[in-house]
């Protein structure tokens, strides 16, 4: 029978055909580009930050308690901004962790399928709403209500922003914790039930401790998101950097400062322009530390319960 495909010789040159090789290299470049992005971020931040620190001492940056780069006299202490960021993230976590964890436990251990099918899409919608919408909600809805409750409160404050930010990160805590809890083998639950445990005891004494590393990871991720969030704090929190322990006062978060300066189209190369990169690098450092802490915490919890 005469077929179209002639039997070619078994032998040819070494290795891949040249066209295959080119494709292989192109694909490799695409993958490596992700590393380049990280280096680009670090390089861009570092380049401007180094120039900044030629004019402003690192000591002042890290210890001075005033941040007034736009006024005279200029102080370049980043602590007020850090305090603002940490305050609002803390409030957000205080809101998001109980609500997120409570929902996760409900969804994973209690809720019937029909209810789950309604709640999960709602959480996904919450996760998909752009942060500028949350900022709007904080300023025009939550703040007036809070001002009614606390007569001393001013319009721009950390509490309002923190509460709404908390709602924003609930889906992150909830779905990741739920995933961690669902991964707990049914066998463990059955063992506990067989010993006479009730559902809430199984949930809180067996499932949650077993899923702890995943739950902690979800909280860390949420905190990392809260620290980096920009719109809610820019809209609702204020633009007066202040180192204070009162969340009802007006503060400024790191990301809000960067936004404020960026909006104004500050000329390239000025000291004011470089401040956003200095704050940017500080922000990057904080997020990096949070993620590192999270990584080690989850490792530790995984080891504790790895006997399962």
């Amino acid at each position: 029978m005469a077929y179209a495909v002639r039997r070619g010789p078994l032998r040819k040159g070494h290795g891949e055909k040249p066209s295959e090789r080119i494709i292989h290299h192109l694909l490799f470049l695409s993958a490596v580009s992700s590393i380049l992005v990280l280096f680009a971020i670090l390089a861009t931040l570092a380049y401007q930050a180094i120039e900044f620190f030629e004019e402003v001492s690192i000591v002042e940056f890290l210890t001075e308690t005033r941040w007034t780069p736009l006024f005279q006299p200029q102080y370049f202490g980043v602590l007020p901004l850090v305090a603002g960021t940490l305050w609002v993230s803390f409030i957000a976590l205080v809101v998001a962790v109980p609500i997120g964890l409570g929902s996760a436990i409900f969804l994973s251990e209690y809720s019937p399928d029909r209810v789950r099918r309604v709640i999960k899409p709602v959480l996904e919608v919450l996760a998909g709403i752009p942060t500028v919408v949350y900022g709007y909600f904080a300023l025009t809805f939550v703040t007036p209500i809070l001002m009614g409750i606390f007569p001393d409160m001013i319009v721009f404050n950390a509490l309002s922003a923190g509460l709404v930010m908390g709602i924003m990160i609930v889906p992150m805590v909830s779905s990741l914790s739920e995933d961690a809890m669902i991964a707990v083998p049914q066998l463990l639950r059955e063992g506990a039930y067989a010993l006479g445990a009730k559902r809430h005891e199984v949930a809180t004494r067996v499932v949650v401790p077993t899923a702890l590393s995943g739950i902690v990871a979800s909280i860390i991720l949420a905190m990392s998101r809260a620290v980096g969030e920009t719109m809610i704090v820019s809209i609702a929190m204020g633009s007066t950097p202040k180192l204070t322990f009162n969340p009802l006062e007006s503060m400024q978060a790191m990301t809000a400062y960067i936004t404020q300066i960026s909006l104004g189209e500050v000329p390239f190369g000025t000291l004011e322009y470089k401040t956003i990169f200095a704050v940017g690098i500080a922000l990057f450092a904080i997020v990096f530390i949070v993620n590192l802490v999270g990584y080690y915490l989850t490792k530790r919890y995984t080891e504790l319960y790895s006997g399962l």
Binding site: M1, Y3, A4, V5, G8, L10, R11, K12
Partner: protein
Amino acid sequence: MSNLAIETKALGVWFGKNHAVHNVTLEIPVNRITAIIGPSGCGKSTLLRCFNRMNDLIPTAQVEGVVLLNGENIYERDVDVSQVRRRVGMVFQKPNPFPKSIYENVAFGLRIEGVNSKSEFDSIVRRSLESAALWDEVKDRLNDSAIDLSGGQQQRLCIARALAVDPEVILMDEPCSALDPQATAKIEQLMGELKESYTVVIVTHNMQQAARVSDRTAFMYLGELQEYGPTQQVFENPKNELTERYITGKFG
């Protein structure tokens, strides 16, 4: 021209530290059906995959020794693996038709070779489907999706697909284990027809099937070739005690 389709000499396969195939020397005759039997994990599928260098796709696999295809060693450094695989076709345990039409499935091997004449495609697709005893069942619906076929039809499609590139040898790795008895019977009958033009090597865990269809049988155990000879002799008069125990059902 030799009457050996495939010859192996001191063939060994490692997966990392696991020595899966030891020192196998085997001769597969042309235009015959050779069966490789043995209990699970004995290395028969691994051995089969040496014949078309499919083990190359497993990162931890290391092969030593020689495999001659019509006298040429397919493990030489400058061998074109694609050519090897065209000359030694394979049918898998679980039928794996591509999610394309029946026609495109059979034509796939030709397309990657660069064939582009529609008339060539049409005639080869038809001949391959006929040789696989599937043409009559699908001739009116060549553009339907292959996934819609029954299991047995899918497996015959996979055979047709392998035939389309005009191989010398067809390897079958437990081709009927996912099929019902009627589909199995059709494929066994097809094997008998195929051996007239091709050499068939089949791995099977079903001893009765090996006894039914094959001309020569190889028995493997723990990676070693324990016995190899004409099927009738291996089953009725095994020379090796292990073979005898396996065949009489004492293990495996």
